[in-house]
Symmetry: C2
Subunit: 251 residues, 2 copies
């Protein structure tokens, strides 16, 4: 199993939308995929149709008892895609883990023994706290969704620095899978400008595929469906299928 | 001085854009305003033109030594608007304050003695952790920017619950100033649907003023300027001036 953390401390850049739709696109090619919702908001769980009452056990339970991962993973309406859901309880972990033994290695311990999955994606919350650090320590690669906006660009160097620190201190196998530009609007100079700046700085570490701004992507979660099931032909779904192809080639 | 926390754990909903532009609009009416950047990303500080080297002392220093608030507040290019800037160091506070004495009351202690300001706005990070809790404990009112999107709506009830808990346990004067709809796009059914749902649930606690999606609002920070100085006549600036009028009437 290869594990990919989807992280960016900037909020609202498309982490969850990327986690749900990239995982779905890979499952659609016949791979066996697990999505771990590691954000107390629980948006990825909602985006895959899980109600609040269908989240026991949840990701929070893995932190106290890593052996529960297999029991927490459950199938979704997408063939080949399972999910470990998140509840608000997960927010407590940021405080409860402080001072505990191995505070950033709990998720890695939980996912280690899991078998039967080709890929595992971890949707991280908008911060560089203990939940995201657990995601980075558990991962082989980190995928960074980047909204084509100025504030989002500002946080990128801090995020890359944190990835380097985690690689040096706790997880030597961690590398960057790549940066994917999201909510890209061709008509908007700012989008073009940010895309040029990021490609100039990071070169081939930026995926060629860009995810366009597409309202169908934001409508799908209100139906509890990934965009690929809600509207397979929309520009958003097509872009995530292209990203899945590019991602598999690069992996 | 009346203190307003701008909070929402959902990322990218327009907290910083609202903090910078509402504070600017109020200063433009002759009020004396302080903006506290309480997000380690430091976006509000950037949006008001402060470079990374101009942030000493910063909001982080207030947590260790509340007496430094007056020294940390500095003028901006907006007459009547001062800012206490944020640095990445602030992220450490989420861990350092755990187990300390009075972990959620540090900001309140720092802002209490400040004189000479009519209004104080606190830009909170996208989480319900110790930084946001410090903001809610220090505040008289909480203003909730809400993106007209499904995932943003999902988190609202958790946020309102947290506000009630803070009011019951640590800050009895805390009340909701209101919810302001942001990035509203009249052409998009989802926006209209979310706006209707929120008004049905919260009634007059939702501001009449809605902030439209307007690219000029996202361009302004790349020039280190609030939108009102970057482009006073754009729909975004006009909306924040209308919000400032409505906010003053309601206060
Ligand atoms: N390409 C897109 N086009 C249009 N809307 C999008 C797109 N990608 C995401 N969205 C919408 O934008 C909002 C933010 O996206 P999302 O919630 O996936 O970001 P996030 O980084 O996971 O946020 P958070 O930081 O809160 O976890 C959501 O309402 C989502 O539906
Ligand atoms: N009304 C608007 N129209 C267009 N763009 C907007 C609008 N409001 C905010 N933006 C842009 O959307 C992005 C998110 O806004 P902002 O950073 O203010 O949200 P936030 O809630 O403070 O995010 P975070 O959760 O990361 O702190 C920014 O790039 C900002 O420039
Ligand atoms: Mg998310
Ligand atoms: Mg912000």
């Amino acid at each position: 199993m290869r594990t990919i953390a989807i992280a960016n401390q900037k909020g609202g850049v498309g982490k969850t939308t990327t986690a749900v739709n990239l995982a779905t696109a890979l499952a659609a090619t016949g791979a066996s995929v697990l999505l771990v919702d590691f954000d107390p908001q629980g948006n990825a769980s909602t985006g895959l149709g899980l109600g609040r009452a269908e989240r026991d056990p949840s990701a929070y339970d893995l932190l106290a008892d890593p052996g529960r991962a297999a029991a927490a993973a459950r199938p979704t309406m997408v063939p080949g895609l399972s999910v470990i859901p998140a509840t608000q309880e997960l927010a407590g972990a940021e405080v409860e883990l402080v001072g505990e033994d191995n505070p950033t290695g709990r998720l890695r311990a939980a996912l280690g023994p899991l078998a039967g999955f080709d890929w595992c994606f971890i949707d991280c919350p908008p911060s560089l706290g203990l939940l995201t650090l657990n995601g980075l320590v558990a991962a082989d690669r980190v995928l960074i969704p980047l909204q084509a906006e100025f504030y989002a660009l500002e946080g990128l160097s801090q995020l890359l620095k944190t990835v380097e620190q985690v690689k040096a201190r706790s997880n030597p196998r961690l590398d960057l899978a790549g940066v994917v530009l999201t909510m890209f609007d061709r008509r908007n100079n700012l989008s073009e400008q940010v895309a040029q700046d990021v490609r100039a700085a990071l070169g081939t570490r930026v995926f060629r595929t860009m995810i366009p701004r597409n309202v169908r992507l934001s409508e799908a979660p209100s139906h509890g469906l990934p965009a690929l099931l809600y509207d397979l032909r929309c520009p958003g779904s097509e872009a995530y299928m292209a990203l899945a192809r590019e991602f598999r080639e690069a992996a």
